[in-house]
Amino acid sequence: MSARLEINLDECTGCRTCAEACFVDVIRWDDEEEKPVVAYERDCVWCFTCEINCPSQCINIIPQMPGQSVNPY
């Protein structure tokens, strides 16, 4: 499971919500630029919390499906 994250930094208002909302430490915060950084994209589990809660709607997550890859049989 993974995903591609697209953040339009031109639209980003620097509110930090995405970095706080990420529960798998994928998005970090750049204090100097006051913008998010996609630091560990491979660990994204496409929960969409950052995207849904972004007030300027500048995040797009492209999920890699399926979300499970180990064969149960």
């Binding site: 930090r16 970095a19 706080e20 529960f23 798998v24 970090r28 929960c47 499906m65 180990v70 149960p72």
Partner: protein, 596 residues
């Protein structure tokens, strides 16, 4: 009063989210690791999810002068599991039949391995607990007259629901009461003086800083082990279970940490209650074939049946979505409530599936999604573990508390029990923790112990290559996910799974990390491996089939020999498996009860 001291003691509660000091790939160990941040507190709550926040709030309500520090490896108010599910809470509401509920739960879900006294307690506390949640500002469903709104279900109980923004009002409430928050800090080990737990150590995911917390009382609320398999539970790696086990706490009911659900094969997303509408490639209704009577949740028989159909060449397996929709109509009132945040999450997920997933169809191919849910920390009726100074609540001790019995816990045979279990466990623990923290002095951690733990915790950062944490996690998943290891068990296959786990464990000393994020993965890999071993060792010991534990070589329930809980414990460096009798003579519902 809360105190914190030493070196560069940062203010607890400040929002620490920065990439500037997160340690670049060339920075092996940050300055912070050399100069630990040390915190002293009356109560340490490890895990800022639903249960941890509820416990912290309740302790401050009961004893406002108590210093409470809440620490989480992600950002409190967003982390945890509660806000990533359906938000359903079961309740025994006025008018529900508690005796019918207990009878059903013991006979059909827990199969006599329940702690029935705790089961009664959970049932009696549930309605008030839901009201308490509403009083804390969580959007719990209400009627037009302001009463708790419920939907009655078969088998004697009801459900209500909360909207999925529930973590934010809880965090706000906690902060208002003076709970101090420490984000992005991964706890690895508990501190111990003689038998008593005296705090914990960990590190900052942001800058790799070493963190030492001295506490009079400690609550583990950092979830169970889901082996990193299911997306939304990716953070539940058994951190707390591992810390408790390594400190010497007893585990109970670990053989029931093997939950499977039916998932859409193309997306991996669970289709809850989809087990009732399954067809094989020949168009035969396999739900009817393998499910003998109505079940409140997915039964073992359909998990085994799905595997059998595949292995015997009658796959793939499908759900008829039109039939599924029709069969769900009776449950429609469960989701009649207006919950904007839940709708936003699931609506968004559906839109993404439409955009990037497999094409929608009436016949959807399904598979089995392993979740695990190993939650074995043994606790008493106040959620005290077997170690003084240590409590465990929520998913950390769901199975270990034993109220659910021989069930995969969570969900414990009842959807909606995970949230209620966490909430009630927090409410039961809080008075006990508040009292205890007044009776013991603030511990002072030993310098030698701290230095040794620091060396151990940061060791992967000193290696530039070796064993990859992601490879370790993948290898453990390959040992726990297959039905042949975790559900259709027999002695040989469990031993085979254990040898696969041991192979991974043998390489764990070679784990390497490039930065604190990678260090976190290394510790998660170690936790996942240990939890797999605990689960398989318990499964090997239970030589019968009961509830969610099925042994192909012992297919019958054996009440003569197995009205016993399996206890797993670390003794010196060995994993010791023992049993403890269920005090069935004290309980109302017994295997001899008429009408079973």
């Amino acid at each position: 009063m809360h105190q914190h001291h030493t070196a560069d003691a940062g203010a607890i509660g400040q929002s620490i989210l920065s990439v500037a000091d997160c340690g670049g790939k060339n920075q092996r160990m940050s300055e912070g690791a050399e100069n630990p941040k040390t915190y002293d507190t009356d109560v340490l709550v490890i895990g800022g999810g639903f249960g941890g926040l509820a416990a912290a709030i309740r302790i401050k309500e009961l004893a406002p002068e108590t210093a409470v520090l809440l620490v989480d490896k992600q950002t409190i108010g967003w982390g945890g599991k509660a806000n990533k599910g359906a938000g359903v809470l079961w309740v025994l509401a006025p008018g529900d039949d508690i005796e019918a509920f207990i009878d059903f739960h013991v006979k059909k879900v827990g199969f006599y391995l329940n702690d029935q006294e705790l089961l009664y307690k959970m049932a009696r506390e549930s309605y008030g607990a839901a009201q308490k949640l509403a009083a804390w500002g969580v959007n719990v469903m209400k009627t037009s007259t302001g009463e708790l709104d419920i939907a009655r279900l078969p088998f004697g109980w009801s459900i209500t629901a909360a909207d999925l923004d529930m973590m934010r009002p809880l965090r706000n409430k906690a902060e208002k009461l003076g709970v101090e928050l420490l984000h992005k800090t991964q706890v690895v080990e508990l501190l111990k003086q003689e038998d008593r737990i005296t705090g914990a150590v960990g590190f900052s995911l942001l800058n790799g800083g070493f963190t030492v917390i001295n506490s009079k009382a400690t609550i583990l609320a950092n979830g169970d082990c889901d082996f990193g398999v299911m997306r939304m539970w990716a953070n539940a790696c058994g951190d707390g279970v591992t810390a408790a086990y390594n400190a010497g706490a007893e585990m109970r009911n670990a053989e029931f940490g093997n939950f499977y659900d039916v998932v859409n094969k193309g997306t991996g997303i669970p289709i809850v209650f989809g087990f009732n509408n399954l067809y094989n490639a020949r168009g035969e209704n396999i739900s009817a074939r393998y499910i003998r009577e109505s079940q409140p949740d997915i039964p073992v028989s359909i998990v085994l049946g799905m595997e059998k159909e595949i292995l015997e060449g009658r796959g793939p397996i499908y759900i008829d979505m039109a039939e599924f929709a029709r069969s769900s109509e009776g449950r429609a009132d469960i989701f009649r409530w207006d919950r904007p945040h839940m709708k936003a999450l699931f609506g968004h997920e559906s839109a993404k599936v439409q955009a990037y997933g497999p094409p929608s169809a009436q016949k959807v191919e399904v598979s089995l999604g392993f979740t695990g849910e190993l939650s074995p920390v043994k606790v008493d009726h106040e959620m005290k573990t077997t170690l003084p100074g240590l409590w465990a609540i929520g998913d950390t001790s769901y199975a270990g508390s034993a109220w659910a019995g021989a069930a995969e816990a969570p969900p414990g045979g009842l959807r909606g029990s995970g949230l209620m279990n966490a909430l009630i466990a927090a409410l039961l623990a809080a008075p006990s923790v508040a009292r205890y923290s007044k009776t013991v002095p603030l511990p002072v951690s030993g310098q030698l112990e701290i230095a040794s733990l620091k060396e151990k915790i940061f060791a992967p950062l000193k290696r530039r290559n070796g064993y990859s944490a992601l490879e370790a996690i993948r290898s453990i998943q390959e040992a726990v996910v297959p039905v042949k290891y975790s559900m259709r068990r027999n002695k040989e296959r469990i031993e085979e799974a254990l040898s696969r786990v041991a192979e991974v464990q043998g390489k764990l000393p070679e784990l390497y990390a490039e930065d604190p994020h990678g260090l976190g993965k290394c510790h998660e890999a170690s936790c996942i491996a240990l939890c797999a071993e605990i689960g398989f060792r318990a499964a090997l010991a239970r030589t019968e089939s009961r509830g969610w534990h099925y042994r192909e070589d012992y297919p019958q329930r054996d009440d003569r020999n197995w009205l016993r809980w399996i206890i797993v414990k670390k003794v010196q460096e060995n994993m010791v498996v023992a049993t403890e009798p269920v005090p069935i003579e004290r309980y109302k519902v017994t295997p001899g009860t008429a009408g079973q």
